[in-house]
């Protein structure tokens, strides 16, 4: 609410600045815009940016510091007894005060001290709001005033605005990169804590996965065992099944679309395949768990094979179908990028269409196809929903596709779902698994992109 109010004020000042900048620039050359160094709209944008950006930065700083300052002020008004409380109790007390101030439900009958503090908290928040509004509006107006002075016939507003826009874009990409770094760091720190409890080699090479640990000393039968081999094996098994489905089907449909299909057929098939890519994975999961899984169990029974209804095969098959459009769409692109001249050269030597495809087009497109397949593999490894719903939770170390297996992503989900304490080996194991997943898919993506890029250089 507050934030919207502040943003509204900034927006208002910025649009005023735009009008003034534009009008001022035109006035400085008595209406003849061709005399200006920059178009009038650049002068407007220059003022608008000056009105908005410093104010926005100030607003962000204020908002992030506000809570701490008010808290310190409120605590300093509390009795000496309360101030002497240990940090956790104090935090609890503070949250009571804050809830009371905002009219939320609090613990039964707050003490008069807390009530007084809540009143004080509300007052301070109110003062802060007004002060914030005033300060930000003043800052904005001040910047506007100084920037306005520079508007003149030869003022290089375009260059300035473009430089500012460039900085904004740099800032945007820096935020994306910082987020990624933060993500990796948080994974690394939590995984580090896990590896303090469970040795790295036990995790990487152990063959028994049973993450239940005793929370209280009197619990029995759950010692916790974190050998991740069965999980990696399960992930590999399902990925393998998925790729066995997706690579031939995707590649053949790509070859059909790019080499054989008439433009009309291609126009119909390509969007249909891309619909497959747009289906939410949870819907695939439903299909796998409710239709494919039981069907496979029935199919297995009719052959005397003991198949469980949650099987690697069900998850792998459905995941393979999900990945087909990835493989086909990317392969279609690389096959289309093979120059027509190569096909003509082959035809002119008396090669048939299939010989041309097998001996010229596919070898030329191979690096790109390999890249497409690697991207699909990293997609399959990271896929979660289908395996959660259809592959089961049992960490079996098996190569039998009719048995239930579990994957890295499924384990991360089950380790973290529900009420958990975040300092047990069980929950920390999820971060270690996440770290492994992150590095494997990262490596696959890097290799895939390198391969694809190498291929691109060849024909451009």
């Amino acid at each position: 609410m507050q934030v919207w109010l502040i943003l509204g004020v900034i927006l208002l000042l910025a649009s005023y600045g735009y009008q003034r900048g534009r009008g001022g620039a035109l006035a400085s050359v008595s209406g003849d815009a061709s005399k200006l160094h920059s178009l009038p709209s650049y002068h407007g944008a220059y003022l608008a940016l000056w009105a908005a950006i410093p104010a926005l930065i100030a607003c962000v700083i204020w908002l992030s510091a506000e809570h701490q300052i008010i808290k310190m002020l409120v605590i300093s008004g509390l009795s000496a007894d309360s101030q002497a409380l240990e940090p956790q109790r104090l935090a609890l007390l503070m949250s009571d005060i804050r809830n009371l101030a905002s009219g939320d439900i609090v613990r039964a009958d707050p003490s008069p001290e807390v009530q007084a503090a809540a009143v004080r908290y509300a007052e301070l928040a109110q003062v802060s709001l007004y002060a914030k509004l005033a300060a930000i509006a003043a800052l904005s107006a001040l910047c506007l005033f100084f920037a306005k002075k520079r508007i003149a016939e030869q003022f290089r507003a375009r260059n300035r605005v473009e430089r500012i826009v460039r900085y904004i874009m740099i800032a945007a990409s820096v935020i994306a990169i910082l987020t990624t770094i933060g993500l990796v760091l948080s994974l690394l720190f939590e995984a580090w804590r896990f590896f303090l409890r469970v040795p790295l080699h036990d995790f990487l090479f152990g063959t028994h996965w049973s993450p239940q640990t005793a929370i209280r000393a009197d619990q029995v039968g759950a010692s916790g065992s974190f050998g991740a081999i069965p999980i990696f094996a399960g992930t590999l098994l399902i990925t393998l099944i998925a790729m066995v489905i997706a690579v031939p089907l995707g590649l053949f449909s790509a070859i059909y679309m790019s080499e054989y299909a008439s433009p009309r057929a291609r126009g119909a098939i390509k969007p249909l395949l891309e619909v497959l890519a747009g289906v939410p994975t949870v819907v695939y999961g439903l299909f796998a768990a409710l239709t494919v899984g039981p069907y496979i169990r029935g199919f297995g029974e009719s052959f005397g094979i003991d198949a469980s209804s949650e099987s690697a095969l069900a998850a792998g098959l459905v995941m393979g179908v999900m990945i087909i459009p990835f493989v086909s769409s990317l392969s279609d692109d690389v096959i289309n990028a093979v120059p027509q001249a190569l096909r003509d050269g082959s035809y002119a030597l008396g090669a048939t269409q299939s010989e041309t495809i097998r001996r010229v087009v596919l070898p030329a497109a191979l690096p790109g196809i390999v890249g497409a397949v690697l991207l699909a593999v990293s997609r399959a490894i990271g896929e979660t929903m289908i395996v959660v719903m259809a592959a089961g939770l049992a960490a079996n170390l098996t190569a039998n596709p009719f048995e239930a297996v579990t994957t890295v992503t499924v384990q991360i989900v089950t380790l973290l779902v529900g009420d958990q304490e975040f300092d047990s080996s069980k929950t920390l194991a999820a971060f270690a698994l996440g770290l492994v997943l992150f590095f494997v898919t990262l490596a696959l993506n890097i290799i895939a992109l390198k391969v694809v890029r190498k291929y691109r250089e060849k024909y451009d």
Binding site: P263, P339, A341, L342, R343, D344, G345, S346, Y347, A348, L349, G350, A351, T352, E355, R359, V360, P363, A364, K458
Partner: protein, 263 residues
């Protein structure tokens, strides 16, 4: 269409005989009733301004136009007396006998050796590695490329210079031992030195093959060919001995084109 007094469209002992050949792309007619004979063991050049249909005509002779959607070819073309526009005739078999070299060198992204071996392999022309080695060497020798590449046969053909690539493409075409070689502006992407080498090569090759070359260079046509056909707006305006076409053209449009008044 052609007046036989002013044109020698027909010759004695032709390799390829084209009669009433018309081509249209999606209903738009590009060639109108072309009559033309291609002589055996000689070079026939097709000249004319851009868009006059010479490349289209060239591509009729090995049915490369089949690859283009909406392209319709009518009339009659026979190679060694066999009608090739007949649906019964397999275009794939035809192209083995009527090879083609393109405007832009288009070696396959394979080794030099595999580029040459491609045709013999798919047609099963050779038995065993030794025989294939021999075909590769002979083809490269005939294309005048052997000395330059004999030490790097396993390196990619795309790594050669433009002129070498074009000679590689010619070697690739002759490796399947065709009867006719069609060349679509084979020198337009090459520098003068590489052009001179390719022209020498064409002169060499005409002893064994019947060659048809499309060119935009009048000098080239005059240098390499024995017969020349001048195309304009989808018809053959004039055809005859190269010397006669360039020194004593009978049609004023031919005269205008070769003296550079238009085109």
């Amino acid at each position: 269409m052609l007046d036989s007094e002013t044109n020698s469209a027909t010759i004695a002992d032709p390799k390829v005989v084209c009669r009433d050949v018309s081509v249209s792309y999606s209903g738009k007619q590009a060639l109108f009733d072309i009559d033309l004979d291609i002589g055996i063991h000689q070079v026939t050049s097709l000249i004319g301004p851009s868009g006059c249909g010479k490349s289209t005509f060239l591509r009729c002779m090995n049915r490369m136009n089949d690859v283009i959607d909406g392209c319709v070819v009518t009339g009659s073309i026979s190679v060694d007396g066999v009608e090739i526009l007949d649906d019964e005739i397999d275009a794939v078999q035809l192209r083995r006998r009527v090879g083609m070299v393109f405007q832009k060198p288009n070696p396959f992204p394979k080794s030099i050796y595999d580029n040459i071996a491609y045709g013999p392999r798919i047609h099963g022309l050779v038995r065993g590695k030794d025989e294939l080695d021999e075909v590769v060497q002979t083809s490269l020798e005939r294309a005048g490329l052997w000395e330059e590449v004999k030490d790097r046969l396993l390196q990619p053909g795309t790594g050669l210079s433009g002129g070498q690539q074009q000679r590689l493409c010619i070697a690739r075409a002759i490796a399947v031992r065709p009867d006719v070689i069609l060349m679509d502006e084979p020198c337009s992407a090459l520098d003068p030195i590489a052009t001179a080498r390719v022209e020498e090569l064409i002169d060499e090759l005409k002893r064994s093959y019947s060659i048809v070359i499309v060119t935009h260079s009048m000098q080239q046509a005059a240098r390499v060919s024995q017969r020349t056909a001048f195309f304009h707006l989808g018809i053959v305006v004039e055809v005859g001995e190269t010397e006669q076409i360039f020194t004593n053209p009978r049609d004023e449009r031919t005269q205008g084109y070769i003296t550079g008044r238009y085109g």
